[in-house]
């Protein structure tokens, strides 16, 4: 197996199953157990943002693609929610007025810490695709969380 795909409804009730899927895929692709936690957290944080801030209670789908790419594990997450580029979310800024807080939140900052790559593109027909990349080995990973 070179990749796995999961399609789920955009519901917070799906988060536990999504995390279980990522753990299973990580095991299949030989990810160091010490590196799995950070991968699971990054995916969980992004999908939560999609559901809460993207779909905002509306019906929708989330598609999660997981694959091994050399020494890395790569997760691509697609949705059809309004376009939101997480790069527009500012870094931690204690002086930022609340009314200027971006779509998304604390989770995005954690993803930045956990992933070596956190890319976004707007899909041609609407929606978002983010790519999350982490080393499959615990050593040398970015951030301290495992």
């Amino acid at each position: 197996m070179t990749a796995t795909d999961l399609h789920v409804e955009a519901s917070l009730d799906e988060l536990a199953d999504i995390r279980a899927h990522i753990r299973s895929a990580a095991e299949t692709f030989g990810v160091d157990p010490a590196a799995v936690g950070g991968l699971v957290q990054a995916v969980d944080e992004w999908v939560t943002n999609v559901i809460v801030h993207g779909y905002q209670g509306a019906a929708g789908q989330v598609h999660i693609h997981v694959q091994r790419d050399g020494n890395d594990i790569v997760v691509r997450i697609r949705d059809s929610a309004p376009v939101f580029d997480p790069a527009t979310a500012p870094a931690f800024d204690p002086d930022l007025p609340l009314e200027r807080r971006p779509l998304g939140g604390l989770g995005i900052a954690l993803i930045r810490e956990l992933c070596t790559v956190f890319d976004h593109r707007a899909l041609p027909d609407g929606g978002n695709e983010v790519t999350l990349r982490r080393p499959a080995a615990a050593a040398g990973r970015k951030g301290v969380a495992t």
Binding site: L12, D13, L15, A16, R19, G37, V40, Q41, D44, E45, T48, I51, V52, F92, P94, L96, L98, R101, G105, L106, G107, A109, L110, E113, G143, V144, A145, T146
Partner: protein, 134 residues
Amino acid sequence: MKTTIDRVSDSVAVLAMDGELDASNYQALIDTGQSLYGEGVRTLVLDLSDLKYMSSSGLVAVHSLALVYRGEAPPDPEAGWQAFHAVQADADSGVRHESLRLAAPSDDIGTMLDRTGINRFLPVFADRDSALAG
């Protein structure tokens, strides 16, 4: 996530979590902690020994309860940035919330508490007994 409440005394309780704390259930944790405060509990230990996972929503819940047990209103639970800014402000000012105590986090959760500064303003103990002893 399953929660178990142990009322040690009229004013002290342990709330043990078993499972995963995420955006689907963090509000229930806040509600449970607030209810205990309403019943007179003034020292709450969150026993994390059986908690397998905590997302940033869990951090918001922890900080919200820290404020509740300091006698303040919790922040808007949707305001992740607001909560985190408050966490940073508390950490930077040296404020510690002794009425809410964390016990026995896993390595992963402990690392997250460290990275986000939660352990700079909330006491974190190795186990439930030491948390109760303070």
